[in-house]
C-alpha cells in the first residue's frame, strides 16, 4: 500500500509534466523520468486499486478452486499417512455412483420446485409492492423479514411444522379430513417441504431486487403506452418485463447458483440431522452428499471430484438460464 500512496502523492503534488513533443529541447533527464512515472501511474494505478479484491479472491476463491481440482485426482483421506494419485478414478467412480445421480435428481427436483415458483411470485409481489399501497415501506420491509431471520432457526421451525407425527401441518391436514403426509419418507413430499423453506426465505429478497429495478423504469414510457390504449397486462408484458431484463437475468443466475447448492435445509430437515438426506437418501442433495463424503467418510478426493462436477453443472445451467431469460424477457421488444 505504501508504494501506491507515494505514487499517488507524486501525482497530486507535482504539476503534470508537459508532453514530450512540446519539449523536444529538454533532454531525457529528470522530466522524462517523471513522465515515465506518470505514465506508469496512469497505466497501473487502477489495477493496484482493485488489487485487494483480486488478491483476496485468489487466496480464498481461486486457490481453493484449483486445489480442489488437484485433490480430486488423489485418494485423499483426511489425516491418512499417504495420499496415492489415482488420476480420474474419482470421476469415473462418481459417474457410476447411483447415489450421486440420485442426489443430482433430488437437487434438480428441489431446485425446480423452489426456484421457478419463487421467481414468478417474486415478480408478482414486486408488482404489488410497486402500487400505491398504504404503509408501503412496512410491506416492503415485511417481505425481507424471512431473509433476515437465522436460517438454522427457520429450518428447525419448519422441521417442527413438517413433523410426521406431531407436526402442525399434518394436524391441520387431518382437521380438514385429509390424510397425514409422511414428509420424511415420501420423496416428492420431502422435496416439497424443503422447497417451501427455500421459498419462504428467498422470495421476499428477490421481490425487493425486482422492485428496485421496477422503480427505475421511467414513468413516461407507461404514460405513452397508456395514451396508446395499452391495458395494464399489456404494459406489464411489453414494458415492465423487457425493461427488467438485466435484473431478471441477475436474479435467475444467482437463484440458480444458490438453488443447486441447497445444503442447510435438507441437512436440518433430517430428524437426526445426518448428512444422509433421509433413510434412503430421498432428499440428499449433491452438496449434502459431498459433505458426507468429505467430512464423514473423510474421502476428500471423492468429495472434491463431486465439487468440480457440480461446479460444471452449475455453469451450464446458469448459462442456459441466462440465454432463456434473455429470450423470454425480450419477447416484447422488436
Amino acid at each position: 500500500m505504501t508504494t501506491e500512496l507515494t505514487v499517488t502523492r507524486g501525482r497530486g503534488a507535482e504539476p503534470r509534466p508537459p508532453r514530450r513533443d512540446d519539449n523536444d529541447d529538454i533532454g531525457p533527464g529528470k522530466l522524462s523520468w517523471r513522465y515515465r512515472l506518470t505514465r506508469l501511474d496512469v497505466k497501473f494505478s487502477p489495477y493496484v486499486y482493485i488489487a485487494p479484491f483480486f488478491i483476496l479472491f485468489a487466496v480464498v476463491g481461486l486457490f481453493p478452486l484449483l486445489y480442489t481440482a488437484y485433490i480430486s485426482l488423489f485418494e485423499w483421506e483426511l489425516g491418512a499417512d499417504e495420499q496415492p494419485f489415482v488420476g480420474i478414478e474419482n470421476y469415473t467412480a462418481l459417474l457410476a455412483d447411483s447415489q450421486f445421480w440420485n442426489a443430482m435428481v433430488n437437487t434438480f427436483s428441489i431446485f425446480a420446485i423452489s426456484t421457478i415458483p419463487q421467481l414468478i411470485i417474486a415478480v408478482l409481489l414486486a408488482v404489488l409492492l410497486n402500487t400505491a399501497l398504504r404503509g408501503r415501506t412496512g410491506w416492503r420491509m415485511g417481505v425481507l423479514l424471512p431473509y433476515v431471520a437465522s436460517l438454522v432457526a427457520l429450518t428447525i421451525i419448519f422441521g417442527d411444522l413438517f413433523g410426521v407425527q406431531y407436526g402442525t401441518v399434518n394436524n391441520i391436514l387431518e382437521l380438514f379430513g385429509v390424510d397425514r403426509i409422511d414428509w420424511q419418507a415420501d420423496r416428492w413430499w420431502s422435496h416439497v417441504a424443503i422447497a417451501t423453506m427455500v421459498n419462504w426465505r428467498w422470495t421476499g429478497y428477490n421481490a425487493l431486487i425486482v422492485l428496485a429495478a421496477m422503480q427505475a423504469i421511467p414513468r413516461d414510457v407507461y404514460e405513452a403506452a397508456w395514451v396508446d390504449g395499452a391495458s395494464k397486462v399489456r404494459q406489464f408484458t411489453s414494458i415492465t418485463l423487457p425493461m427488467l431484463r438485466p435484473t431478471l437475468i441477475f436474479v435467475v443466475v444467482t437463484s440458480t447458483i444458490g438453488g443447486l447448492q441447497i445444503f442447510t435445509e435438507p441437512l436440518l430437515f433430517s430428524p437426526s440431522a445426518g448428512a444422509n438426506g433421509g433413510a434412503t437418501h430421498q432428499y440428499q442433495t449433491v452438496v449434502l452428499y459431498m459433505y458426507q463424503a468429505g467430512f464423514q467418510s473423510q474421502d476428500l478426493g471423492y468429495a472434491s471430484a463431486m465439487a468440480w462436477i457440480l461446479f460444471m453443472v452449475i455453469i451450464v445451467i446458469a448459462g442456459i438460464n441466462f440465454l432463456l431469460t434473455r429470450r423470454l424477457a425480450s419477447s416484447g421488444e422488436a
Binding site: L78, G79, A80, D81, Q99, V152, I156, G159, D160, G163, V164, Q165, Y166, G167, D182, Q184, A185, T264, L267, L268, P271, S272, A273, G274, A275, N276, G278, A279, T280, H281, Y291, Q292, F295, Q296, S297, Q298
Partner: protein, 428 residues
C-alpha cells in the same frame, strides 16, 4: 463425552471447519511461556467438569500453565481433531476423543503417543474397567488414550404404562422382562396387544446395543468387512420383526419429534445409558416425574454408549508433561470430582466403589440409587467389541437409516440389501 448427534451439531461442524482453516496458522505455540513455565493446552467438548481440577493442577504444579479449549458439541470438536491431524499441526497437547469417534482415531493411531511409553509409570491399566482399556489399545498393543467417563446401559421404562398393560412394573419384577432380548421383544408384543401403543422409541436405538453386544462387529480384527457373516442379519431380522409387530414408535433419536414423544408418552421403554436420565428428565418434563423408572437390568447382559478418552497427539510440544496431566485428570479421585461437578460417570474401578458415587440418587426417577445402579451395570459389560475404521460411519450412515426406512415402509429384505451395499461402499 455424550454421544449426541443433535441437530445443531452438524451445522456447527461446518462453521468449525471454516474456523479451523482461518485459525490453523495461529495456534502453534512454543510450549513454554516467557517466564519459563510449561504451557499445556487441553481440548474438550461438551462438559468434562475439568475447570476446577485444572486450577488445582496448576496450584500443585507451579511450573505448569494449562489452557482449556472447550467446544460446545462433540461433532465439531472431532471435525477439528481430524482436520488438524491432517494438517500436522494446531492440535492441543491433550485431546479428548469420544467413543463414537474412537474407531476413526484408532485407524490413525500412529499419530498419537503410546501412553504406556511416555505416560507416568505408576499409571497401571487396572485403573480402569478392562473393556474401557481394551477399546483404546491398538493391535500392536499401544495404549493411545486414558479413559475418562463411560455410559453404562440400563433400561428405563414407564411404570404407569407397564402397569396399565398388566405387566410387572416394580424394579425387581421388570428385571425378568429385560433379561434377554427375546424376553424384551416378547414383553413388547404383550404390551402392544394390550395397549395398541409402541414399546420402544426407534429400531436403531435397539439394534445398536444388540450389535455392540455381539462378539464380532462390522469388521474382524483384520479390518475385513464381515457384516454378511456375523450376527447382524439375525439381529436385523429380530428388530425388524418387532417393528412389523408395531413395537417401534418410529421416532428417530434426537429429532424434535422424538423429544415431543417423551411428553406424549409415545413409548414405554428406552435403552438408557447413565447420561440419558438427564435427557429423559429434560424431554419428558415435570409432568412425568416419578412415572419414569430405571432398573439394573439390560437385555443380553450389559452395554456401553458414550464416554471419552484423553489422548496425546504426536504433534504436541510437551508430550511427557501432557501425558502427566492426562494421567492426573483420569485418576479416580479427580474423576469423582468431575462426576460431582458435571455428572460424567467415571470409568475407573476405584471411582466406581466410591461412596460419593454409590450414594447418588435421582429424585426424578423415584429416588432410585442411580450411582449404585449404573456402577453395577458398568461391571456387566462383557468385553470391548473390535471396531474397524469405518465402524461409526456404517452405524450412522448405513444401518440406522436402513432401519428407519423399514419403519417408513421399506421391506426388511430390501433394507438389508441396502445395508450390505452401503457397508461395502463405506468399507472400500
Amino acid at each position: 463425552m455424550r454421544y449426541r448427534r443433535a441437530g445443531l451439531a452438524k451445522v456447527l461442524a461446518c462453521t468449525a471447519v471454516l474456523a479451523t482453516v482461518a485459525t490453523a496458522c495461529g495456534s502453534g505455540g512454543s510450549g513454554t511461556s516467557p517466564d519459563g513455565k510449561v504451557e499445556l493446552t487441553i481440548a474438550t467438548f461438551n462438559e468434562f467438569g475439568y475447570e476446577e481440577l485444572l486450577k488445582e493442577y496448576e496450584a500443585a504444579n507451579p511450573n505448569v500453565k494449562v489452557t482449556q479449549r472447550k467446544t460446545g458439541q462433540g461433532a465439531p470438536h472431532h471435525q477439528n481433531l481430524f482436520t488438524k491431524l491432517g494438517a500436522g499441526s494446531g492440535l492441543a497437547d491433550v485431546e479428548a476423543v469420544e467413543e463414537g469417534f474412537l474407531s476413526q482415531v484408532m485407524a490413525k493411531s500412529g499419530q498419537f503417543e503410546d501412553l504406556k511409553e511416555i505416560g507416568p509409570k505408576d499409571v497401571r491399566e487396572d485403573r480402569w474397567l478392562q473393556w474401557k482399556v481394551d477399546a483404546v489399545t491398538t493391535k500392536d498393543n499401544k495404549l493411545i488414550g486414558y479413559g475418562t467417563d463411560i455410559g453404562p446401559l440400563a433400561m428405563c421404562y414407564r411404570k404407569d404404562m407397564l402397569a396399565a398393560a398388566n405387566l410387572p412394573s416394580d424394579a425387581e419384577g421388570v428385571k425378568a422382562l429385560f433379561a434377554t432380548w427375546d424376553s424384551y421383544f416378547e414383553a413388547g408384543d404383550k404390551y402392544v396387544k394390550a395397549t395398541g401403543k409402541p414399546w420402544f422409541d426407534s429400531a436403531a436405538q435397539i439394534f445398536n446395543p444388540m450389535h455392540n453386544q455381539a462378539e464380532t462387529g462390522y469388521f474382524d480384527r483384520d479390518d475385513k468387512l464381515v457384516i454378511e457373516t456375523n450376527d447382524d442379519k439375525k439381529i436385523f431380522d429380530q428388530v425388524t420383526a418387532a417393528v412389523a409387530g408395531g413395537q417401534s414408535a418410529k421416532l428417530a433419536a434426537w429429532s424434535p419429534e422424538w423429544e415431543t414423544g417423551f411428553k406424549e408418552s409415545a413409548f414405554a421403554t428406552k435403552t438408557c445409558p447413565s447420561w440419558m436420565l438427564g435427557v429423559i428428565e429434560g424431554n419428558a418434563g415435570p409432568d412425568h416425574k416419578g412415572k419414569w423408572a430405571v432398573t439394573a437390568a439390560f437385555p443380553g447382559g450389559g452395554g456401553n454408549w458414550g464416554g471419552s478418552y484423553l489422548t496425546v497427539p504426536k504433534q504436541g510440544k510437551n508430550k511427557a508433561e501432557a501425558a502427566k496431566l492426562a494421567a492426573w485428570l483420569t485418576a479416580p479421585e479427580q474423576q469423582i470430582k468431575a462426576f460431582k461437578a458435571k455428572g460424567t460417570f467415571p470409568s475407573q474401578t476405584q471411582a466406581l466403589i466410591s461412596p460419593e458415587l454409590l450414594n447418588q440418587t435421582s429424585e426424578y426417577f423415584g429416588g432410585e440409587k442411580v450411582g449404585l445402579l449404573f456402577a453395577e451395570q458398568a461391571n456387566k459389560v462383557a468385553a470391548a467389541q473390535y471396531k474397524g475404521p469405518q465402524d461409526g460411519e456404517i452405524q450412522d450412515n448405513v444401518v440406522s437409516p436402513a432401519l428407519t426406512s423399514v419403519e417408513q415402509g421399506t421391506s426388511p429384505e430390501d433394507a438389508w440389501k441396502q445395508v450390505i451395499e452401503g457397508a461395502k461402499k463405506a468399507a472400500k
